[in-house]
Symmetry: C2
Subunit: 208 residues, 2 copies
DNA sequence: TATTTTTTTGACCAAATGGACAACTATTTA
DNA sequence: TAAATAGTTGTCCATTTGGTCAAAAAAATA
């Protein structure tokens, strides 16, 4: 008995899968896994529900794939912190990069946050796996910089947490941030945020 | 035609409503509004579904009440920042208080985060209302302290955001935080976090 | 204790939703 | 262009779930 397995994706498969992923990201990030329905995703990408299920075998599979591709992108910038550059500059570059991502990848940030918030059922192994590896690696580097007195002493794990939380806050809690600022400040949130963050981390990390 | 309106709650009503609220907080914070079901809440408090609906007319009403009572508690500590105390001490006291809440009120923090993350459909008016009032008030105080050179100059709005994000991170993203720390560090997350935060804000805000 | 009021629950309903599938159409390939 | 393969959809189904309701049980009151 021969089972025929399709290896190569057709043009239409590539296009439609991408279309579905985009719509799914939008819907999942707004409503969460449970709040999102196939009908909503279908509407968002202009396909019918059975058509979507022709490309993905279930809603959960769509969610898993969207989350998966997001995670890789999410971890990447951390890896770019280089031990060759000037320590403070490297850290500030990372802060800037993360803040930019909060501005341009708001949906991704919210989806990631929702996943973690609800116990990371599909993400746990990645957190404890490749992300942990990268973090541990950078923690070592930060400790090296501290021992060389190139940055002020500080717990490197919590330093990383602080960068994540402060930058992602502008994506995840955008509704709150917008609500609390007046119109003038609202239009320059991200400039103000960058100024604040760079000042903040510089004051905290600069060696006298 | 006379309509009889019950004014005073009976003992049983008080007890059962509280019981339901507790269970609902637990379930809502774990699954979100849509992911939570009446059956789950019912199971969590040992009542039957129709019994719950005897005390609350709908799932949404339970959610609204749980959220409402949480919000007041959530805003309160900010109000306690006093213009009479030493500026840096007052700010650090607030940081400590918020971090403690992340430890002891994890469910509340997660529920609040989920609500904001998904657009704050029921909270918008409170954000723009009483919370904004309090924030604006404290921003004025912070600006006063800055102009008197009692703390280093910094955007007060973003300072408040940074306190919120960094402290709440330890509740909302606990799964991630735990995943990334080894056993030794895991057992003293909150001590390490407090040390880190106090050092950080001190370095950032202290006037030379 | 008799009566009234409050509380509880089993059984039920309608809407929403994830998904199956056969029939039909469009595209690719030989 | 004919055959084969890929893509699309209307219709249907089963499950989940928020919510109703009448009747029974428990509690409060007179």
């Amino acid at each position: 008995m021969t089972k025929i397995v399709q290896i190569k994706q057709t043009r239409i498969q590539r296009e439609k899968r991408l279309l579905i992923q985009k719509a799914a990201l939008q819907v999942f990030s707004e409503f969460g896994l449970r709040g999102a329905t196939l009908d909503k995703i279908a509407k968002a990408c202009g396909l019918t529900k059975p058509n979507i299920l022709y490309y993905y075998s279930s809603k959960d599979e769509i969610y898993a794939e969207v989350l998966q591709s997001l995670l890789e992108e999410w971890i990447r910038p951390l890896k770019d912190i280089s031990e060759n550059g000037d320590p403070l500059t490297e850290i500030l570059k990372y802060v800037k990069k993360k803040l930019t991502m909060s501005k341009t990848k708001k949906q991704e940030s919210k989806l990631f946050a929702t996943e973690i918030l609800h116990g990371a059922p599909l993400t746990q192994n990645i957190l404890a796996g490749s992300l942990k590896e990268t973090v541990d690696d950078k923690v070592k580097l930060l400790n090296k910089w501290i021992s060389e007195e190139k940055i002020a002493p500080v717990d490197p794990y919590h330093l990383i947490f602080s960068i994540w939380s402060m930058t992602q806050h502008y994506a995840d809690f955008d509704v709150q941030v917008y609500s609390l600022l007046n119109t003038k400040k609202r239009s320059r949130i991200f400039q103000d945020a960058e100024d604040f963050l760079l000042t903040f981390f510089t004051r905290c990390l600069k060696q006298d």
